[in-house]
């Protein structure tokens, strides 16, 4: 059975979270690495190409950073964030990008089903969570997004570089004033913490992909690189680069 690494970092600083993800993306030759994490303080992250002034909620966030994955802004609070770093030739990511989303979302849906939530790909339906002009990821959807209660509940994005991929995902456990009326797990598990949802997601990944997730820590090179990259993610220059 294939073994993947599982790196867990709860309540980590925003710039560290992004620095470690990019370090894992750069880590050529590493096994598939899955990360489960959360943010302290709860930060708003802009998509790589977004302009700060196009996201009004950024004014009300305790911390704001810019991701290196695309898409809309996310308020990382009341959520479990996951990332997957792998070679683009790995069966999980090989072929059309859309199909790789479908594979990962099927595993996430499996974890949600353990709480009685039936999450489905949006397809062509219209959602109650759509909002114009907010720049927020959860207010704009594509056919590949996972939805329940007619709202978007999982945001995801990929960065592909040098034959590797970094896949980000945010699973909303509860909502925040900056994201409003979106799909969360509040109605089935009030006050659910990311640490409590993580075992369900781990088991769903293992069962869906037929792999073993082994708890691990980043190696010394990855940790060093994460620290270097975190400096950039903490910088005002990078935040305001668009």
């Amino acid at each position: 059975m294939e073994t993947w690494r599982l790196v867990t970092t709860w309540n980590a600083q925003p710039a560290f979270n992004l620095g470690l993800d990019e370090a894992l993306l750069e880590s050529a030759g590493a096994p598939v690495t899955v990360r489960f994490y959360s943010w302290k303080p709860g930060a708003l992250s802009l998509g790589y190409f977004q302009r700060l002034e196009d996201v009004p909620a950024a004014l009300d966030a305790r911390a704001v950073v810019r991701r290196f994955t695309g898409g809309g802004a996310i308020h990382h609070q009341r959520e479990l964030t996951f990332s997957i770093a792998a070679e683009t030739e790995h069966p999980l990511y090989r072929g059309p990008i859309a199909e790789s989303y479908a594979r990962v979302h099927a595993a996430v849906a499996r974890a949600l089903a353990t709480l009685g939530v039936t999450a489905e790909l949006r397809g062509e339906r219209s959602l109650a969570s759509e909002r114009e002009g907010t720049g927020m990821c959860f207010h704009k959807s594509s056919p590949l997004d996972l939805v329940w209660n007619e709202r978007k509940g999982v945001g995801s994005a990929q960065r592909r570089s040098k034959g590797r991929v970094l896949h980000h995902g945010s699973i909303k456990l509860g909502t925040t004033p900056l994201e409003g009326d979106i799909a969360t797990l509040e109605h089935v598990a009030r006050g659910l913490e990311p640490e409590s949802f993580a075992p369900r997601l781990r088991e769903a990944f293992e069962a869906h992909f037929g792999v073993k997730l082994v708890a691990d820590v980043p190696d010394a090179l990855e940790r060093g690189r994460a620290k270097e990259l975190a400096v950039r993610f903490a910088s005002d220059e990078f935040l305001r680069r668009r």
Binding site: Y48, F49, F68, T69, G70, G71, R94, G95, P96, I97, A98, Y101, S142, L144, S156, A157, Q158, R159, R160, S161, K162, V165
Partner: protein, 132 residues
């Protein structure tokens, strides 16, 4: 069959010589991978300034589709002469005409030898291997 008047990189860029200039773009396969057949799925791109020196294999830009940000790589070394301003606001041109109007940058190549790149037939086989 893809155009035989240019060479192809494994990272799905093409390069075509036009006198002393090399024109670089991305292939229909790359566009399809990024856009999933929906031309409005390509949303942003970042292109280099004229005058920048590129090494072969170096990242020269980035392109965002609805679902992924991907790097663009220089198939050969040279100095950037011009970028295609028309595509920055109209990325659908890449879907409509990746071989012509959808060119991305023009460079002054260090060498006109396109060593290590694939011809159309070789690229065809390479792409076929990616589909399985």
């Amino acid at each position: 069959m893809r155009p035989n008047d240019r060479k192809y990189a494994q990272s799905h860029e093409w390069v075509k010589l036009d006198g002393d200039v090399a024109i670089i773009g991305i292939t229909d396969f790359a566009v399809q991978e990024l856009s999933n057949g929906n031309e409005s799925d390509l949303v942003y791109c970042d292109l280099p300034d004229a005058g920048r020196m590129l090494a072969a294999g170096e990242t020269f830009g980035e392109i965002e589709s609805v679902k992924a940000v991907s790097d663009l790589y220089a198939p050969i070394a040279g100095e950037v002469l011009e970028t295609n301003a028309a595509i920055e606001d109209h990325l659908e041109i890449l879907s409509k005409d990746p071989w012509g109007a959808g060119w991305i940058i023009k460079i002054k190549p260090e060498s006109k030898k396109l060593d290590g790149l694939m011809d159309a037939a070789e690229y065809e086989k390479f792409v076929a291997s990616k589909k399985h």
